[in-house]
């Protein structure tokens, strides 16, 4: 038995049973899983969590899953002290949460693991999603493990190479002749017509809960202490809001002291509706047409944008953007200082962190965690310029000449 009690509207508070549904029937705002926190607090202790599985399922009591987990090994990724990068940026207590090291190479495994378990509980035999990369791979991988059918929708103009990471798990890959908006429209219709578990539509409240485990882990790995600052990438804004929820829950359950973490949202300048609203002091997110090569976080109309904005403001945090060039520089800097090869979204986080540290918005002595949410190899094409080998003949003389060394 989980401690989840209902789905509740984030705007008007209307409650619904735990079912596949993501919007309030009345005000059309997003729904969120609520729990019996009093009962949960009695069941959860630091020791119990620490003695649990070496995966995200150690936080099972804080998740809405009733049945056996669909476990491909998501979670409990390393939190490493990043002294080299910290020296570069002027931060003495910088940590990298390396979520590249999930089974399908991004944090999405955390979210999908919960969504797919719920799909099975709801008696659905098919899941679906629309994605050009990380979500597609994770959904297809989990469907393989759960022995469920998966439909993955992609716009026809996506480079085929991008899709290998999903296609290998053999979902039904549907390439739609049209642009992003066309795929969005089609998927909304598909979700209405078919009894499928659409990961980021009718299963979205559960998908969201899985993302919380990233926040839980950061706190546990810091020795049950919430950091002073977290820098997090945002697309729909969902992960960002759930990291905030994770910290709040830990303190509400008495697992940590009251939390004062400042949460910073980072986006690519070419698709930054949340960061732009923050920086403009606006309450409203103006949707944009994404124009950035940081494709994994290019969402122009972010479903959780309004709530992400609130989390950034209420936590005393902030927002930042970087250009595509700065994002790529961030990817290189992280790899060349800490040996961690992130995708471009990670470069956005590092680039924004660099600016926040330089402006002393994040102070030198603050315990700061950068969330690196996806691995580099899936988006190698943006980095082809790093390959500049020294060419030699297969003999020592040629090698030593080329390297400018003498034995």
């Amino acid at each position: 038995m989980s401690f989840a009690t209902a789905l509740r509207c984030r705007k008007c508070g209307q409650e619904y049973p735990l079912q596949p549904q993501s919007l309030c029937n009345f005000c059309l705002s997003p729904l969120e899983v609520t729990y019996d926190y009093q009962a949960m607090a009695k069941a959860v202790t630091r020791d119990k969590i620490a003695g649990g599985p070496r995966s995200m399922w150690r936080y099972r009591d804080l998740l809405p899953v009733e049945s056996e987990a669909v476990d491909i090994g998501a979670g409990l990724t390393p939190l490493v002290k990043a002294d080299n990068l910290g020296r570069e940026l002027g931060l003495d207590q910088l940590y990298i949460k390396n979520d590249c090291l999930n089974p399908s190479y991004s944090f999405k495994d955390r979210a999908v693991a919960v969504a797919i378990a719920k799909a099975r509980e709801f008696g659905l035999d098919t899941i679906a999603c629309a994605s050009t990369g990380n979500l597609a791979a994770s959904a297809a991988a989990h469907a393989a493990k759960a022995d469920m059918k998966a439909y993955v929708f992609v716009p026809a103009d996506v480079e085929p190479g991008k899709l290998i990471g999903a296609a290998i798990y053999k979902p039904v890959l549907v390439s739609v002749n049209g642009n992003y908006d066309d795929v969005n429209r089609l998927c909304a219709e598909v979700a209405r017509r078919y009894k499928w578990g659409f990961i980021n539509i009718n299963l979205r409240p559960y998908y969201a809960e899985g993302s919380k485990t990233l926040g839980y882990e950061v706190v546990e790995q810091l020795g049950w202490r919430a950091p002073d600052c977290i820098v997090c990438p945002a697309a729909s804004g969902l992960l960002f809001t759930r990291v905030g929820k994770a910290l709040d829950e830990f303190s509400m359950l008495g697992l940590t002291d009251p939390v004062n973490t400042r949460l910073f949202v980072s986006q690519a300048a070419g698709s930054a509706p949340i960061a732009n609203a923050f920086l403009a002091g606006s309450q409203h997110i103006h949707p944009v047409k994404p124009d950035t090569l940081v494709r994994s976080i290019a969402i122009g109309n972010p479903a959780d944008g309004y709530y992400a904005l609130r989390v950034a403001r209420q936590s005393g945090g902030g927002a930042g953007t970087v250009t595509d060039e700065e994002a790529i520089a961030g990817v290189k800097l992280l790899a060349q200082t800490e040996g961690i090869f992130a995708e471009a979204a990670g470069g956005v986080v590092i680039g924004v962190l660099k600016k926040l540290a330089a402006a002393e918005v994040i102070k030198r002595d603050a315990v700061t965690v950068a969330l690196i949410t996806g691995a580099g190899p899936r988006t190698q094409e943006i980095l082809s310029s790093v390959v500049q080998p020294i060419t030699v003949q297969p003999n020592l003389q040629s090698l030593e000449e080329a390297l400018g060394v003498v034995a």
Binding site: L28, A130, S131, F153, I201, P287, I299, P302, A303
Partner: protein, 80 residues
């Protein structure tokens, strides 16, 4: 009959125009406002449109032509 849940975002120069009223007069579409926020320089409305699929599509094309931005309330579905 179909239902469509969408968000209209109005630029400043259209805020004083009765666009939603005009839409329901011009097209066989029932408009049902669920949430809104309007100030002097911008505004958005989350509403449900009900009618024949084709009539809904025509009404959306018409408001878009007026300069209103139309987005699905579920947000973008295609993710990275």
């Amino acid at each position: 009959m179909a239902k469509k849940q969408i968000m209209f975002t109005f630029p400043q120069d259209l805020i004083t125009e009765p666009i939603i009223y005009n839409l329901s007069q011009r097209f066989k579409v029932v408009t049902n406002i669920r949430r809104a926020d309007i100030s002097e320089n911008k505004g958005w409305v989350v509403l449900e449109l009900e009618g024949d699929e084709s009539e809904i599509e025509r009404s959306i094309a018409w408001v878009t032509g007026k300069g209103v931005r139309v987005d699905p309330v579920v947000g973008d579905i295609v993710e990275g």
